[in-house]
Symmetry: D2
Subunit: 338 residues, 4 copies
């Protein structure tokens, strides 16, 4: 059994990670921190998490052999660096090591990076793209929730040079992605029965999507990303639009997508519009590519659970790869429906 620790377990990503760690047969949650909640038992904060008798601590304990950090950006890099320095493998759920370019990071996140030197050794944790690198990495940057859907949706098309260099990603997300912090605008009464766009002047996931898609092609791909908040707890539905470079049969596109992901345990290429609820609590991503003939546009719709494949599930998947476990171990549960 591998002893794992979670830094900042008291947000939604941390709590979901704890749930998945408890489901995993080869790992053991031995320690967890949580800023303002230190000293409380874990199930005082989250009554649904009561497998252990664990107290939330100020610092994770010395017997931890693998660290997950669910701190916000900047705080995360600052805290996790000591474990990396000591040779303990770390998965960072924050954004600190997602962007390859320091200037881009500092521009979008408006902070000085606490440990830019670690950017060289970190790997972007999208197994479908970088499985072999992740295997060898000691510091893995868990992808953002929106980028996971967008990159997985468009990679087959861009790698195969199917589309022009503009990708419009119109995403609809559940509210849990905003985290657990109290905020007037995230109150139930504000968001229930409501729908709105946000981040229209720029969202930090846009450069992340753009970075990854541009690693697949020499074309200079530009991404227009518009997140929308919808009245649900979990789930991201992303609708991607790109003009086709040439005429291609829809079935050929579907085949190309199926071929591209044929060995991927968590990707399903489907032939009808997916619903976020089909992924509730699971690590699956549904991808539905189709062609709008009249406008010669490729549309790719993806659905995933932002707290699982968009966050904690991907972290477990990355850990499985890093530790040489079966990749699906502990994260092969079926979605809960309805």
């Amino acid at each position: 059994m591998l002893n794992v620790g979670i830094i900042n377990i008291t947000g939604y990503a941390g709590a979901e990670l704890a749930r998945l760690v408890y489901s995993h047969p080869e790992i053991n949650l031995v320690s967890a921190t949580g800023r303002s909640k230190a000293g409380l038992f874990l199930d005082e904060v989250f009554p649904h998490l009561e497998k252990s008798n664990m107290k939330i601590q100020e610092e994770i304990s010395d017997d931890v052999e693998f660290v997950f950090s669910a701190l916000p950006h900047a705080a995360s890099a600052e805290k996790l660096s000591q474990y990396v320095d000591n040779g303990i493998p770390v998965i960072d759920i924050s954004a600190d090591f997602r962007l390859n370019n320091l200037k881009t990071y500092e521009k979008w996140y408006e902070v000085k990076h606490p440990r830019p030197d670690l950017m060289d050794i970190s790997k972007y944790g999208l197994p479908e793209a970088y499985r072999d690198d992740i295997k060898k990495a000691k510091l893995v940057a868990n992808p953002g929730c929106f980028p996971t859907g967008a990159i997985l949706s468009m990679s087959p098309a861009i790698s195969n040079d199917l589309v022009e260099n503009l990708v419009i990603n119109d995403s609809k997300t559940g509210v849990s992605g905003a985290g657990r912090t109290a905020k007037e605008s995230f109150g139930f009464s504000e968001l229930n029965d409501n729908c709105t766009a946000y981040g229209t002047k720029g969202h930090r996931h846009q450069p992340e999507i753009e970075q990854e898609l541009n690693l697949l092609t020499d074309n200079k791909i530009k991404v227009l990303f518009t997140p929308h908040l919808v009245s649900m707890t979990r789930g991201i539905l992303g609708t991607n639009y790109s003009i086709l470079k040439r005429q291609i049969n829809e079935n050929d596109v579907i085949d190309l997508y199926k071929e591209f992901y044929k060995n991927e345990p968590f990707i399903k290429i489907v032939s009808a519009p997916p619903a976020t609820k089909q992924t509730w609590g699971s690590n699956f991503v549904y991808i539905y590519p189709y062609i709008n003939k009249e406008t010669n546009t490729l549309v790719v719709i993806s659905a995933l659970d932002n707290l699982v494949k968009g966050s904690a599930g991907a972290a477990i998947q990355n850990m499985n790869i890093m530790q040489g476990f079966e990749e699906t171990l502990g994260i092969d549960q079926l979605p809960i429906y309805p």
Copy 2:
């Protein structure tokens, strides 16, 4: 046109009051305050309220002829007293003048009452019970949202000595009753798709219900009140249980309820379970009394919109009575469904 002012317009009760004031043909909103939002235009805080070009102020202006206070308890009594002292009629939406007994107030609200002397001149603003007193009052205490449903549900039965002296009120409320203040436990992700009881160790609306029901009878009525939070924005469904003192036909009960409220413009006695959504945005209360024969119990279910009849609508109704307007003026809109 009567010039009215709203103290603390930036909560949900204040905003709903503003909506209703704008719908009212005989009154004019000339001034409003709102603690942390002073200096902003009203529609910067609430984009849906944009009939006027009103700026939120530190203090309401001198031309105000009628004041609504939507401040929290204690703060409300403190602020509104100056207007009462100056002879300006006031409706207090807070709890400061609902309880007739100072000790009961100070026990349940855990503050010293800022102006206990005004308790003598204030009237409990339930028009169905105190219309004539309200007409003459200069300070009216708007009832609590749960008490409105509970008192209206049980008054006919208790006045007619139908039931034993225990009333169990099991209420289900939408989240807007908790107000607009940011709080971790009122976040969308916490409350969406969820149901829980709260206040099980005592809730401030319990003594208020008990006070009013006991004014109707010499029996010493006791009230067991259990509020529940359900996953909706507006609405209170209250289910009241009392053992019948004697056998009585259900139709006779219904007739008795209809007779009791025959002149009430906002009370509807119905013969099927009401739904909160039938009252959305309206000042109506649906009341459904029935008998469970096997246990000889009278059950009375009521539905209302906590922000209208449970708060802002009742305030307008009281103002109409105090000012000699038609009682339904400005609050006779039909509910919005679905």
Copy 3:
């Protein structure tokens, strides 16, 4: 007082129309039909509609001077034609007279048009585009809910030749747009906490949007329309994307939009992302145009209530114009929030 009748009052559009008719000071609902519900009182079907003692009938009565038809397409044209033939003004909420081209209609709706001759005299009921024609019309086709948002969003840009000839409209709609008919896939448990696209192989509102936008320009505008179902009852948020033909300052775009709609009582040009809940129960449309500089794209987001401006409210607005009433009469209520 004008006597109006509603054909098929028992759907959501019909019920919302009834609510608005009851709020209107110059009209009187004298008769209504509702297929399977004939013989019931209106408030047996919709308890919130109980201003009158009206029984739902098989046919509307002879004293009706103005007819609203809320029947489904084909059934609507068939039924309403007798009133048109008799000189009674009619507003058709169905799709039968929205498309100018008979072949387009019969292709998309897959029925033979019952009265193609009436297509010549009918007018498309978008007051912001055709106010003068509507004034003189005897048969007005109420626009579709999605087209209302899309056309209003893009008309200023297309009329001013700002954009290239592809418009991508990504719309998010509440469930009430699907109507009231029982269907497994519209059950609460299926749609609660869910988000999905539909109509990806083509949706009937696409040719309607395309028709209207092409009447504004010689460019051949193509529309890619993707509706999404989100977990709310009312509201449409439409996000429109079009490549700019030339560089233009965002403030200039906003000014151009404000100028274009400067006399429109129900259109608000805003400078922050609108939320559907800001329009709940009201006839307003919020329009938010902005520019994504990196991709030289104009994005226009609109929010409206699909049952009001997207259906029943627009019908009242059209009736007001046809009858020479003040255009905002009976539909100037503020939205209900939260």
Copy 4:
């Protein structure tokens, strides 16, 4: 591996059962039926269920060694009797074998019982009450969802003669309990943001609760049961009220409850109001007993997931007992939160 079959997999109980069967290490879903969906692949009906390539059949196959029936009452007894007759163990999720008295069954369910003879050999499948009988049974009647909460909540108090003989159970349920069948009144737009009581003239779960509670005492317990529909998909919160026979300390009641359930793997006695969302997707029941001193009333609130402990999870628990598996096998997942 035990080969199991599910009769009527296409409702919510059947689908949830399939999810749990797939999670279970010792059983194998080899066959399933589903009335109108026969011939379809399982994942065409439920995309989230795609572990197997299973086609829904007219009849379950001959290799089935254990049968779950998720048919409606009457249909269930009729269909499952052949398996019982052939010595195949059966769990009936319908109500056909819950009531011990044939007349009571036929009165409440308004049908002739297809196989009253089997009532003698069937056992009521509440493991916390009848574990030893279930072990030996060949036909187990899965309890109703409301009764599960009510019986578990009140059994310790009634067994210990703490309360008078009236139990008022006020339950709040998510909509999935109503099943998947299309019905106008279960549409999303009807139930979203809504709350209502139903079954006020009698509900079939009332005699079931009454039967089980009366088996614990010589007092004649009467149950007043009021179910309410709230705006959520899963979950039942039950609030139970009973007058205490004598004064007792709240901590003593809590201790008594803890003692009563000390060996139960799925029962948690808690000291704060539980929320249904804490049980989402899990087999746990939270029970919170407390005393309202002023009225000398014991209040017991329970929370569970109606599709797991209230249905499919209990079925797996019963099967584990019948087959001699570890009782928690396949149903020990933590809840999914938020």
